[in-house]
Amino acid sequence: MSIAVRNVKKTFGSFHALDDLSLDIDSGELVALLGPSGCGKTTLLRIIAGLEQADSGQVLFEGEDATDIHVRKRQVGFVFQHYALFRHMTVFENVAFGLKVRPRAVRPSKAEIAERVHELLNLVQLDWLADRMPNQLSGGQRQRIALARALAVEPKVLLLDEPFGALDAKVRMELRRWLRRLHDELHVTSVFVTHDQEEAMEVSDRVVVMNRGRIEQLGAPAEIYDHPANPFVYEFIGQVNKLAGRISNGAVEFGGIRANLGIPDLADAESVITYVRPHEIDVRPGQEAAEGWLPATVETSSVAGPTLRLDTRLTATGEEVHVEIRRGHAEHDSLRQGDVVQLKPLNPRVFAPPSAA
């Protein structure tokens, strides 16, 4: 079941939650809506579900207009951040709910409902909890029950609103891998909302990066990480250093030091910002200058597992540059405060400053 969102607008008072947004999701895809809080991702998900009405625009399911179909009839499975389980019902009754409220003519028999519920509980590997009450379950178990409950009605699309947001880090990690495997098994078109870029990258087929009610970039996780379309995406997906400079004759100048960064076709500009990720910087100890290397002073050096983190300051501009390199090289590991190093950005991108855009 493919989903199409066409020119959807939604305002809350004077706040533009969604600003003329369009999006196509293929049948069987698992798509992540990623963005900072207030970017409209949850609003978009709720409009797709029919829990919220767009001010204008359309939502199409398999090419058919679903904009005015009530959430009750829309056949979507919705999973909430805080589970929203029915607390006075057992796990079994929770999962059976969607089947039990069907009109008599299409309601399965009691035996069929029981069979279907146990099938789903087996799918989420929690059949042994069927008779428990929700408050007797852990957060991770509750969310799996909520998922089983949503799947019970055989939804055409599955929508998940920050499904792992309320869980602690370890459970979160397990559950998102589990969700990915489950999706590979079921192939139901799924959209999930998250503000965690790592989660979006790991779980989804495609990531939709949103900001201020608009889509900033849309693509496969690797594509978005390797080729951010703009400074916002660059900054949102992972750590980044921002270095101010100017361009002349195809090279970037940082406070008087010219560095040919190997980027082709750079037009002259008075003010640009170079983006470079902390782990995409080469480090060479010593004073010795060379083409493309920028001198800097080490301010702190700390160890985070397999990674060595260096906080350095560029000699030319006084800007801070964070560097992450693998530990294990004696010449790096021995770096101390005050040591002079040479830095080489490996995969930099140059953007005009945001104010000029």
Binding site: H70, R72, F86, R87, H88, F97, G98, V101
Partner: protein, 291 residues
């Protein structure tokens, strides 16, 4: 095992004191105060009541407690309170629903009005209600042509008991309703439940413990009510005479033991009610834990 080695009575001063200073000092003092306070204010009158009643033999108490006039007063006191509390359960839920779910001008005022029956002297309420519902009153005059009299009948008693019981249901249900996440209703809707199914299967069961607790509190309050009822009831023996009034009448006739006997009956009823309320609240707290 080791218990056999320990001396059965620890010689004071030899064993080191195991409990050091508590982080919350003043336990002894506050507990002492609490016990003597409860003793003087609550326990002593109750004991006095039973001692007074015990001047009679059990069979005499039974005779007084079951005489026809007393029985009629129980029927009105408990029956009327039950009806009043039932009315409050339905309308209290609606009031709580409106106050929690909707935003509208004057909401704060209405919210404050709910507490009025708590604050208003009950005698004042009784006189006001009597004025309204008397056959010449603002409301009573419209019922008079149909031969329906409200003031000085059992209907009047029930209206007064409803008035004083309303805040209990509203104030008990309100926080529970507030605590119910809108998400639960959205989940039900996304699973295909109609509005009515969502109410009947999801909301109502979640609210039921609170509703029953509110009902029990309103009921208990109504059984003990005196001030507002005596003005609107007309106090006709065997018809509109409530048990507290009967006790009062016995006192005025210097029949202290008879009053104590009836009082003991009310006291037992109060204990049973308290027990029921506590059980309901225990049940409610196990059910309403966040899921």
């Amino acid at each position: 095992m080791s218990t056999a080695v320990l001396p059965t009575r620890a010689p004071w001063g030899i064993l080191p004191r195991r409990r050091q200073r508590s982080a919350l000092p003043g336990f002894g003092l506050t507990l002492g105060f609490t016990l003597s306070y409860l003793g003087f204010i609550v326990l002593l009158p109750i004991i006095a009541l039973f001692i007074k009643a015990m001047e009679l033999s059990l069979s005499e108490i039974w005779d007084i407690a079951t005489e026809p006039r007393a029985m009629a007063s129980y029927r009105l006191s408990f029956g009327g309170s039950f009806i009043a509390a039932s009315i409050n359960m339905v309308f209290g839920l609606i009031v709580a629903w409106v106050l929690v779910r909707y935003q509208f001008p004057g909401k704060k005022l209405i919210d404050a009005l709910v507490d009025l029956p708590f604050a208003l002297p009950t005698a004042v309420a009784g006189i006001a209600l009597t004025g309204l519902y008397a056959s010449t009153g603002w409301i009573g005059q419209y019922f008079e042509p149909f031969g329906i009299r409200i003031a000085y009948t059992q209907i009047g008693v029930i209206i007064a008991l409803t008035f004083i019981g309303l805040p209990f249901v509203v104030r008990i249900v309100q926080p529970v309703l507030q605590d119910l996440e809108a998400e639960v209703e959205e989940a039900a809707a996304s699973l295909g439940a109609s509005r009515w199914q969502t109410f009947a299967r999801v909301l109502f069961p979640a609210l039921l413990p609170a509703l029953l607790t509110g009902f029990a509190l309103a009921f208990a309050r109504a059984v003990g009510e005196f001030g507002s009822v005596i003005f609107i009831a007309g106090n006709i023996p065997f018809d509109t005479e409530i048990t507290p009034l009967l006790i009062f009448i016995k006192l005025e006739q210097y029949d202290f033991t008879g009053a104590a006997a009836l009082g003991a009956v009310m006291l037992v009823a109060a204990f049973v009610l308290l027990l029921v309320i506590n059980m309901l609240q225990a049940w409610a707290s196990t059910r309403s834990r966040r899921a």
